[in-house]
């Protein structure tokens, strides 16, 4: 496996290592804000892992090109109407069943469905292709 060593990847890995280093120092030596150190360590690890993953793929495999943009647009469009449909359904439900719902009651559900619907649709459109 060929690993990319261009400056984008090195900067990414450097940032991850820097965050871990800073996090360890804060965690060990500045007790009152140790949770910030823990957060930095976790964030640094996430950066490091994603940097290593991205570095193991050729540069053209991770760029955003017109096919990816089209997939995102299609997934976004379908997610939008899904969210509108659910919001409308909750609204009608609230009116007829007199649930006295607030906007914030349905917000978590709508956000959850929106995020996961977008990710699933992106995967689906990515696999399906768009040629007739």
């Amino acid at each position: 496996m060929k690993f990319r060593r261009d400056k984008d990847i090195l900067r990414f890995l450097g940032m991850g290592l820097g965050m871990i280093f800073l996090g360890v120092i804060i965690f060990l030596f500045i007790q009152p804000i140790f949770f910030i150190g823990a957060g930095l360590i976790l964030g640094g690890l996430a950066l490091l892992v994603s940097g290593l993953y991205t570095g193991s793929k050729p540069r053209t495999d991770v760029m955003i090109d017109e096919r990816v943009l089209r997939i995102n647009e299609k997934a976004g469009y379908h997610t939008y109407w899904m969210i509108m449909g659910i919001a409308g359904f909750l609204w009608v439900l609230d009116i007829y069943l007199k649930l006295n719902m607030n906007l914030s009651d349905g917000l978590a559900l709508i956000t959850f469905i929106g995020v996961y619907a977008f990710l699933i649709l992106r995967y689906y459109f990515g696999k399906k292709g768009d040629a007739e």
């Binding site: 053209t60 760029m63 090109d65 017109e66 096919r67 990816v68 768009d130 007739e132």
Partner: protein, 64 residues
């Protein structure tokens, strides 16, 4: 739609990765194009044809 990208790519000894880099797209996009599972934009079709020294209609074949 079918394409002759794979055949023409072999003629010019280009890998999917190299062709992708030359036209500025992901390698996966070239894979999808070769399988006939993606309709490219006119710009991408033009760029690919140019790299493969062919006319667009020689690279991308639309069947009735």
């Amino acid at each position: 739609m079918r394409t002759r990208i794979k055949e023409l790519r072999a003629r010019y000894d280009l890998t999917q990765e190299e062709l992708a880099k030359k036209v500025g797209v992901r390698r996966e996009t070239i894979v999808f194009l070769e399988k006939g599972k993606y309709n490219p934009s006119l710009k991408l079709a033009y760029d690919i044809s140019k790299v493969l020294n062919s006319k667009i209609e020689e690279v991308f074949i639309f069947e009735d």
